[in-house]
C-alpha cells in the first residue's frame, strides 16, 4: 500500500509550501505539489494550504487566491469531506472562500508579529487534531500581520456553542483575535484553519523550539488510515 498523499498548494506568493511538504514527508506521508492554475487535485487524500503572501496579500489576504482554478476543485471537494487545513495565509484563503466563517484582519498592534506562541488545543475531533489531548498546550510560531480573527456575534456564538473553536492562544493574544481564537473548524471537522504554523515546529534543530507541530501530520495520517 502506498503512503498517504497530501497535496500542498502553491499560489503565486506562497512561501511555506516547501516547509509544509517537508513536514508531510517527516511524518511519513507523500507530499504532492498542487499548482494554483491547475484544475487538478491529483487524487490526493488531504490538502495543506500553506502560509505566505499569495498575491502579495494585496487587497486583502487571500482575496485574490480564492479565485484560483484550483479552488474551483478544492471548494466542492472540501464540502464533500476532503480533509483540508489552512495555516496563516491558508486560513485566510479558507475564510475568503467561505469554507470557514469569519475573517482575519489587521493585528490590533498594527505590526507584523513573529513569535513562539503557546496554543491550547480545544478540539481533538477534527481530521487534523486527533493526535492531541484535549486541553493540551502546544508551542507553535506565529508570524503574520493580519491574524486578528473577527466574526459577527451570532457566528461567534455558534462557533463556541458548536465546539468549532479548535485552538486558542494562551499566555497572551498576539493579534487581538476575538475570544483568543487561533483556529477554527467547519461543521464537519474536515476543514481546519489556524494562524500558527505547525510546519515550523517539526524538527529540534530548526524553526521554533518545539516539535509540537508534528501532531497535525500524525493526526491526518491516523485519520486517513482509519477511513
Amino acid at each position: 500500500m502506498s503512503a498517504a498523499r497530501v497535496g500542498v498548494v502553491t499560489f503565486p506568493g506562497t512561501l511555506d509550501d516547501q516547509d509544509a511538504a517537508r513536514a508531510v514527508r517527516l511524518a511519513g506521508a507523500q507530499a504532492v505539489p498542487l499548482w494554483h492554475a491547475d484544475h487538478d487535485l491529483k487524487g490526493v487524500d488531504a490538502v495543506f494550504l500553506p502560509g505566505g503572501f499569495s498575491y502579495g496579500d494585496y487587497l486583502r489576504c487571500g482575496a485574490i487566491s480564492r479565485f484560483a482554478p484550483l479552488m474551483d476543485e478544492l471548494v466542492p471537494a472540501a464540502k464533500a469531506g476532503l480533509p483540508v487545513i489552512g495555516t496563516c495565509n491558508g486560513f485566510q484563503i479558507l475564510c475568503e472562500a467561505h469554507l470557514l466563517p469569519g475573517a482575519l484582519t489587521r493585528n490590533a498592534s498594527l505590526h507584523y508579529v513573529c513569535r513562539d506562541q503557546l496554543v491550547r488545543v480545544e478540539q481533538t475531533a477534527t481530521a487534523w487534531t486527533n493526535s492531541f489531548a484535549s486541553g493540551q498546550e502546544i508551542l507553535l510560531p506565529v508570524k503574520h500581520g493580519e491574524g486578528r480573527y473577527v466574526a459577527s456575534d451570532e457566528t461567534l456564538a455558534a462557533l463556541e456553542a458548536g465546539g468549532h473553536v479548535v485552538f486558542r492562544y494562551v499566555g497572551g493574544n498576539p493579534n487581538g483575535s476575538l475570544n483568543d481564537i487561533a483556529g477554527i473548524r467547519n461543521e464537519a471537522g474536515n476543514v481546519v484553519g489556524l494562524m500558527p504554523h505547525p510546519e515550523h515546529a517539526v524538527e529540534e534543530l530548526v524553526g521554533a523550539p518545539s516539535t509540537d507541530g508534528l501532531g497535525f501530520f500524525t493526526s491526518i495520517l491516523k485519520n486517513l488510515v482509519n477511513t
Binding site: V8, P12, A21, H39, Y112, C114
Partner: protein, 782 residues
C-alpha cells in the same frame, strides 16, 4: 507642441553630429566639465541626450566608485589566499565554496538616503535591490539581515524614521519568504539626518551553477523582464529630457521608488526556473542606473556589442522619454541574455509566473552599444567606456584638525561609578544595548525551515538544505509544448535531503571606535563579526562590507575612508578572510557635519554539522562560566562613556588580530568536539552586559567572582574576548585546548539560580534584568 504622433523626436546621433555646439546640461546631471570633455573625446562629437544620460549615471560616484576605487583595490591586492573564494570582487556579489558542492553568495548594500526621505519605501527597496544582486549570481536567496543606524532614540525624527524603516524591511523581506537572521540597531545623534540602512542578503547555489553578468554570443537576444519601467528615481534625467525640447510632460518625476515585493517574489521563482531550464547565458539585475547600467555592463563583459530598441521597453508611463527610460530606477527588473532558440521556453516560464518579459535587443560583435528610438540611432558608444573606464580620483586627504585633541581627551578623566549594579541596569536599558525584539519580532525568522540560530544570537545560522530543481510543476495550463516545465501528473515535490552543513553570518560596526581611530575601528568591526561567527562554532570564511562615510570631497572624511579601508584590508589578510564584495556610501552628512565613519562588516562562516552549533548564552544550570581573553582598562568609545557621560574621546580598544584568530580557533575546535554548552561574545558593555544577556537567553542565572578591579572587569570593552559555558566534565579538555593556543582562560563561576550574582559586587534577579532589557524600545516606539 505635441502634434503628429504626439511624441517628440529624441536627440539623435545624427542630430548631435549636426549640432556640435549645442550646450548640454552635464552640470545639472552632476558631471564635471573635464568629465564631459572626456565623453566628447571618446565619442569624437558631443553626446546625445541619451548618451549623456548613460555617462552621467555610469560615471557617478554611486556607480563608478571614482573616489573609492584607489583605496578599495587593497582588498584585492592584500587579499589572503583562499581556496574557498570562487568569485571575488567586481561581480554582483562574491561567491564562496562551502563544501559538498554548495556555494554561498552574499553581499551587503546601503539604502541610506532613500530611507531618510521615505523610510518605509527606502528600506523596502533596499532589501529588494540586494536580493536581486544575489539572484543575478544564479543563486536562490535564502536569508536577509539588516544593519541599521538612527539618530538618538528619543529624537522626534527617529520616531518617524525607525518604525518606517523596520516596517519597510519587514513587509518586503517577509513577503519574499526570506528569514531575517540578524542585524544591528544602533542609535547615535550623528545619524539623525543620515540614518544608515544596510541590507545583507545571502544566497545558495551549486558550485557549477554560477551565473555572471555577461553578454556573449552575437545573435543572442537581450530580454528585459519583471516590472514595467516607470518614472521612478529619475529626477536628474528630466533635466535632460526637457533640455533640448520644451516639453510639458516632465513635470512630475518622483525621486521616491516604490517597491512591489510580490513582483520580486515572482521574479525569484521565475529566475530559478529559468536557471534550471538552462535558458540563461548571462544575467544582470537592474539597480541604480537601470537600463543604462545593465546594458553597458553586460555588453562590456560579453562580446562587446549590443543593439537595443528602446521602443520595446515595456512602460508603466507612456510619456517617458528615452533619456528617462535609460535612467529609470524602477524596481523588480532583470535583464537576461538568451539564445534565440531558447526564447520560447524563456517566455513560457515568465508567463507561468505572471512575469512580463520583452526582447529589447541583441548581442553583436561590433564593439558598440547602439540604441534606437523611433527608428533613429540615439546611442552609439563603446560600452566599456561607460561601464569600466569612468574617472578615477585620487582625492586629497589629511588627518582631521581635531583628531589629536579627540584622542588626547581620554576617558581617564571621567568619574567612575560607585554603584555597579545601577550602572549595569542603566546600560542594559539604554537604547543601544536594550533588547531589539521590538524590531526583530516584526521579521519572519522561520520561513524556509532552515533557521538554526536567529535573534537573539551572536550570529544567524542556516542549515543547508535546498531544493535543487524547481519543484512546482504544472501538468496543465501551458500551451507551448516546448515548455521545459511540463511534468508528469502527480509528481511528488522534489527535494534534496537536508545536509548537516550550515552557514553562519554576522554583521558589526562601531562608528564611535572608527571616529576615534578609523584604521582600528574598521579592524574592530571585522574582529567582532568574525568573533560572532566563531562563537557559534562556525569557521569564518569570507567578508562583505558596507562603508558608510561623509563626503569624499572633504579631505578629513577622505582620510577616515583611507584609514578604514587600509585597516580592513590589513585585518582581512591577518585573519585570512578575503573581502568578496561590498558597497560604498558617501555623502552621509548634513551640511558640513559628517556621520561617524561607519564601516559595517559582514562575515560568513561554515559549520560542518549544525548539530554542533553552540547556542547563545547559558542554556542549563551547573555549567562552568569561563571568560576567554584578557581584559585591559579600555573605555575609549565605550558604551559606558557614551551612556554615563556622553563622552567620546581617547582611543578605541586595541585590535589584537592574532589573539582574535587564536580565540576563533579555540571556539571552533571546542564546538566541533562538543565541549561548549553555550557561548556569547563580549562587545559593547563588556563582561557585565555579556553575563546579563547570557542569563536572559534561557532565564538561567549565574554566580561569578572577579579578581581585578570590578568596574574594569565588568565594563571594559577589550576585544578578542568571549564568554563560554562548559560542562564541568569537559573543562579540563577545554582548558588544555586554550593553553595550546595561548588563549587566556579564566573560570569565573557557575550557572544556576534566578539571579546574576557577582560576588561582593551585586546581585540582580534575572527577571529584573529582563524587565530592564525589554522595556526600553517599546517605551520609545510604542
Amino acid at each position: 507642441m505635441s502634434e503628429g504622433a504626439g511624441r517628440h523626436m529624441a536627440d539623435s546621433v545624427k542630430r548631435a553630429a549636426e549640432t556640435p555646439d549645442e550646450p548640454m546640461p552635464f552640470a545639472e546631471l552632476g558631471m564635471k566639465s573635464d568629465e564631459y570633455d572626456r565623453v566628447k573625446a571618446i565619442l569624437g562629437r558631443r553626446p546625445t541626450g541619451s548618451e549623456l544620460a548613460i555617462y552621467s549615471v555610469m560615471w557617478s560616484e554611486h556607480c563608478s566608485y571614482k573616489s573609492s576605487k584607489v583605496h578599495l583595490r587593497q582588498f584585492a591586492t592584500k587579499a589572503p589566499a583562499s581556496e574557498a573564494l570562487l568569485v571575488g570582487m567586481g561581480e554582483n556579489a562574491g561567491v564562496v565554496d562551502i563544501g559538498d558542492g554548495w556555494a554561498a553568495t552574499f553581499k551587503i548594500e546601503s539604502h541610506n538616503h532613500p530611507s531618510y526621505v521615505e523610510p518605509h519605501q527606502g528600506a523596502a527597496t533596499g532589501v529588494g535591490g540586494i536580493v536581486r544582486d544575489i539572484m543575478s549570481m544564479g543563486a536562490r536567496p535564502i536569508a536577509v539581515m539588516d544593519a541599521l543606524r538612527f539618530g538618538a532614540a528619543d529624537a522626534v525624527d527617529t520616531r518617524r524614521v525607525l518604525p518606517g524603516v523596520v516596517e519597510g524591511i519587514s513587509s518586503y523581506g517577509n513577503c519574499l519568504g526570506l528569514p531575517n537572521i540578524g542585524g544591528e540597531v544602533v542609535f547615535d545623534p550623528c545619524y539623525l539626518g543620515n540614518p544608515l540602512v544596510n541590507a545583507l542578503c545571502v544566497g545558495l547555489l551549486r558550485k557549477d551553477q554560477i551565473k555572471l553578468a555577461t553578454a556573449p554570443g552575437p545573435g543572442n537576444k537581450v530580454v528585459l523582464f519583471g516590472a514595467s519601467t516607470g518614472p521612478d528615481g529619475i529626477g536628474g534625467a528630466s533635466v535632460l529630457a526637457s533640455a533640448t525640447f520644451e516639453d510639458e510632460s516632465q513635470a512630475k518625476r518622483p525621486a521616491v521608488q516604490v517597491g512591489d515585493p510580490f513582483m520580486e517574489k515572482l521574479l525569484i521563482e521565475c529566475c530559478l526556473e529559468l536557471y534550471a531550464a538552462d535558458v540563461v547565458v548571462g544575467i544582470q539585475d537592474l539597480g541604480a542606473a537601470g537600463v543604462s547600467c545593465a546594458t553597458t555592463e553586460l555588453a562590456a563583459k560579453g562580446t562587446g556589442g549590443m543593439t537595443v530598441d528602446l521602443n520595446l521597453v515595456p512602460l508603466r508611463d507612456p510619456s517617458l522619454r528615452p533619456e528617462e527610460i535609460l535612467m529609470s530606477e524602477s524596481q523588480e527588473r532583470m535583464m537576461a541574455v538568451v539564445r534565440p532558440d531558447d526564447i520560447p521556453a524563456f517566455m513560457a516560464i515568465c508567463r507561468r509566473w505572471d512575469v512580463p518579459a520583452a526582447v529589447i535587443g541583441e548581442v553583436t560583435d561590433t564593439g558598440r552599444l547602439v540604441m534606437t528610438w523611433d527608428g533613429e540611432v540615439i546611442v552609439d558608444i563603446p560600452p566599456g567606456t561607460a561601464a569600466d573606464d569612468g574617472p578615477v580620483y585620487e582625492r586629497p586627504f589629511h588627518e582631521p584638525a581635531g583628531q589629536a585633541a579627540l584622542n588626547a581627551d581620554t576617558p581617564d578623566r571621567l568619574e567612575r561609578p560607585g554603584d555597579l549594579r545601577e550602572t549595569l541596569l542603566k546600560l542594559l536599558g539604554s537604547p543601544n544595548l536594550a533588547s531589539k525584539e521590538w524590531v526583530t519580532n516584526q521579521y519572519d525568522r522561520y520561513v524556509r525551515s532552515n533557521t538554526v540560530l536567529a535573534q537573539p544570537a551572536d550570529a544567524g545560522m542556516l542549515r543547508i538544505s535546498e531544493v535543487i530543481e524547481p519543484e512546482r510543476r504544472s501538468s496543465a495550463g501551458e500551451s507551448e509544448p516546448a515548455t521545459p516545465t511540463d511534468a508528469e501528473a502527480g509528481a511528488t515535490i522534489e527535494h534534496a535531503e537536508p545536509t548537516t552543513r550550515g552557514i553562519a553570518l554576522a554583521t558589526d560596526g562601531n562608528g564611535r571606535y572608527a571616529k576615534l581611530d578609523p584604521y582600528a575601528g574598521a579592524q574592530l568591526a571585522l574582529a567582532e563579526a568574525y568573533r560572532n561567527v566563531a562563537v557559534t562554532g562556525a569557521n569564518p570564511l569570507a567578508v562583505t562590507n558596507c562603508l558608510n562615510f561623509g563626503s569624499p570631497e572633504d579631505p578629513e572624511v577622505m582620510w577616515q575612508f583611507a584609514e578604514a579601508t587600509r585597516g580592513l584590508a590589513d585585518a582581512c589578510r591577518t585573519l585570512g578572510v578575503p573581502v568578496t564584495g561590498g558597497n560604498v556610501s558617501f555623502y552621509n552628512q548634513t551640511g558640513s557635519t559628517a556621520i561617524h565613519p561607519t564601516p559595517v562588516v559582514g562575515v560568513l562562516g561554515v559549520i560542518d554539522d549544525v548539530a554542533a552549533r553552540v547556542p547563545t548564552g547559558f542554556v542549563a544550570e551547573g555549567l562552568r562560566v569561563v571568560l576567554l581573553g584578557d581584559t585591559r582598562d579600555e573605555f575609549g568609545g565605550s558604551e559606558w562613556a557614551h551612556v554615563a557621560h556622553r563622552h567620546l574621546g581617547g582611543l578605541p580598544p586595541q585590535a589584537d588580530l592574532e589573539a582574535e584568530k587564536a580565540l576563533a580557533t579555540v571556539l571552533v575546535e571546542a564546538a566541533r568536539r562538543g565541549l561548549l554548552a553555550g557561548s556569547h561574545d563580549l562587545s559593547d558593555g563588556g563582561l557585565a552586559v555579556a553575563l546579563a544577556e547570557s542569563c536572559l537567553a534561557r532565564g538561567v542565572g549565574a554566580t561569578v567572582e572577579l579578581t581585578g578591579d570590578a568596574f574594569t572587569d565588568l565594563f571594559s570593552e577589550s576585544a578578542s574576548r568571549a564568554l563560554v559555558a562548559v560542562r564541568p566534565e569537559a573543562y579540563a579538555e577545554f582548558a588544555s585546548l586554550c593553553g595550546r593556543h595561548d588563549v587566556p582562560c579564566y573560570g569565573l563561576g557557575t550557572t544556576g539560580g534566578n539571579a546574576l550574582v557577582v560576588k561582593d559586587v551585586f546581585e540582580v534577579p534575572v527577571e529584573e534584568l529582563r524587565e530592564t532589557h525589554t522595556a526600553a524600545l517599546p517605551a520609545l516606539f510604542g
